[in-house]
Amino acid sequence: MSHDLYGEILLDHYRLPRNHGRLENPTITVEGTNPLCGDELTLDLEFTGDHLTNISFSGRGCAISVAATSMLTELLKGKTIHEIEEWTGNFRTFIREGKAPDGVDMGDIQSLAGVAQLPVRVKCATLPWTTLEQGLVRYKGT
């Protein structure tokens, strides 16, 4: 099951997380927790109009949640809200079914495929995505 869970791509993101730290002037700061693991995640989001111009994360979490968050920030930085929502949908399909929707290249995120088999760990990988969604809702509400 978890044989290839800790593959090189995942370990790379865990050891050298992209966009780690705090932003100075985030438009939105949003927090997520995974009570089961005790994971705590803070996302700083900087929007310019429709674009997520900058994003960074901090907190504590397991390798999967840290790597998943790092991959998310790398993928979504600079994207429009519409694109982000599309990627969120893709990610949900990917994590539910263990493979990307037809024709979609998930990039590094593909390395999380093993997580889809593990109901208890799925939440670790989904945490940044649900946290980001809350951030989007808040941004749209402003």
């Binding site: 009570p35 593990l118 109901p119 208890v120 760990r121």
Partner: protein
């Protein structure tokens, strides 16, 4: 399609001899027997996939969690629940109803409001409401019944006004066999703003049940009456109603965050599943449901209906026998009495012939008073019973009359 002979082979206990006679098990309304498929599922699970659920990140923990959640989905599909998030595993119908009485009743039913019940309720759907009503100062009302043991719909409508907070009603009576029009009643109740709980303990095992169509707010049933194990039951609830409720039992699993002085709750359905749930029971129940699905609930329904008709007819023709409940459109339960024979003696004498029926008040003492009897005998059927077994029962009844010198 399995033949009845094939079905019977799946239930090893049916080969038992009782007092030297072949067992004729007609106490299915109390509890059903279990097919080897369910027992095997239990053993296989314990021998290769067992661990506690929702907690471990190790492989067995993952397997157990997957199987447990698959069982939830299986149950949801079996009764066509709108969402499996509304399926809460409990210990049985009794706990399911108590959960609603505590977590919904004591919170949302107000002083001066009413709970509308029927006189045919099982104690499980009566006593929790008595205590709840007393604790909040609510009133209990009882939907009148017609002499044949069906609900008097006109008379009931008059009691169903806007002061009614909840209608709690059995789907199928465990004594009379009456099948209540729960969909119609749910509609009527919702029109006056009342919530509806249906006790489905005697319905789900015996007929196709469609929770989406019935559209009640709560629906309760037990695993052990539907080929499954003891120790597990189901409460289905509408998500919006469940969301508004506070938890009932508290502890591990149902929490999000716990501090020394307070805690926050997990999402549905976990909010209502405190502590280690009935894990292997869920897996075993799931196998029982697969079995029922294979046989087909339509077949189960028509087969037991045919048995019931025959039993009803033969018993009605037998001198000195009184049969209770409606003559047609009934569940597979026939309650009756033989003049001059106490039902306990009847059951004991039938047992000498290998025939297992039940005798007593069937956890429905108020209904006994309504019927003006102390107790009744009751034969109840399931998919593995045969027409011949009803003949054996009738012979045994005649034998009992002889022993006790009843004409």
């Amino acid at each position: 399609m399995k033949t009845i002979t094939e079905i019977r082979k799946d239930f090893p206990i049916l080969n038992m001899k009782v007092n030297g006679k072949s067992l004729v098990y007609l106490d299915n309304a109390a509890s059903s027997q279990k097919p080897v498929q369910a027992l095997d599922a239990f053993c296989r699970f314990c021998e290769s996939r067992y661990a506690n659920v929702h907690r471990g990140v190790h492989t067995l923990g993952e397997h157990a969690t997957t199987d447990y959640e698959a069982a939830r989905t299986k149950v949801a599909e079996f009764v066509n629940a709108p969402s499996s998030k509304g399926i809460i595993f409990t210990r049985g119908t009794t706990e399911s109803i108590n959960l609603v009485a505590y977590a919904f009743g004591r919170r949302f039913v107000k002083h001066g409001q009413a709970i509308l019940l029927t006189p045919m309720e099982h104690h499980a759907n009566l006593v929790p409401w008595q205590l709840m009503a007393k604790s909040v100062g609510a009133e209990l009302r009882f939907w009148p019944m017609k002499p044949d043991g069906t609900l008097d719909m006109e008379a009931g409508k008059k009691l169903l006004d806007s002061s009614v907070a909840l209608v709690a009603i059995t789907h199928v009576s465990n004594v009379l066999g009456t099948i209540n029009p729960v969909r119609e009643i749910a509609l009527m109740a919702h029109q006056v703003g009342a919530k509806v709980l249906v006790d489905g303990a005697q319905a789900v095992p015996h007929m196709p049940v469609d929770l989406t169509e019935i559209d009640a707010d709560f629906y309760a049933f037990s695993g052990h009456k539907m080929l499954g194990p003891t120790g597990i039951g189901v409460l289905w609830g509408r998500l919006d109603v469940l969301e508004d409720m506070e938890p009932f039992l508290t502890g591990g699993e149902m929490i999000k965050e716990v501090y020394l002085d307070h805690a926050t709750w997990n999402d549905l359905p976990y909010k209502f599943e405190a502590g280690t749930p009935p894990i292997s029971e869920a897996i075993t129940l799931s196998a029982a449901i697969s079995y029922l699905n294979d046989v087909g609930m339509e077949w189960v329904y028509s087969h037991t209906r045919a048995l019931t008709s025959k039993a009803y007819e033969l018993l009605s023709q037998e001198p000195g026998v009184t049969v209770y409940g409606p003559a047609v459109d009934r569940g597979p339960v026939v309650a009756f009495n033989v003049a001059g024979i106490h039902p306990h003696d009847l059951a004991a004498l039938l047992d000498q012939e290998g025939v297992a029926i039940r005798a007593g008040h069937h956890c429905a003492q108020p209904l006994m008073r309504w019927l003006e009897v102390q107790a009744t005998a009751r034969a109840s059927f399931y998919l593995y019973n045969t027409m011949e077994e009803i003949d054996v029962m009738m012979d045994a009844i005649r034998m009992a009359k002889k022993v006790l010198r009843v004409a």
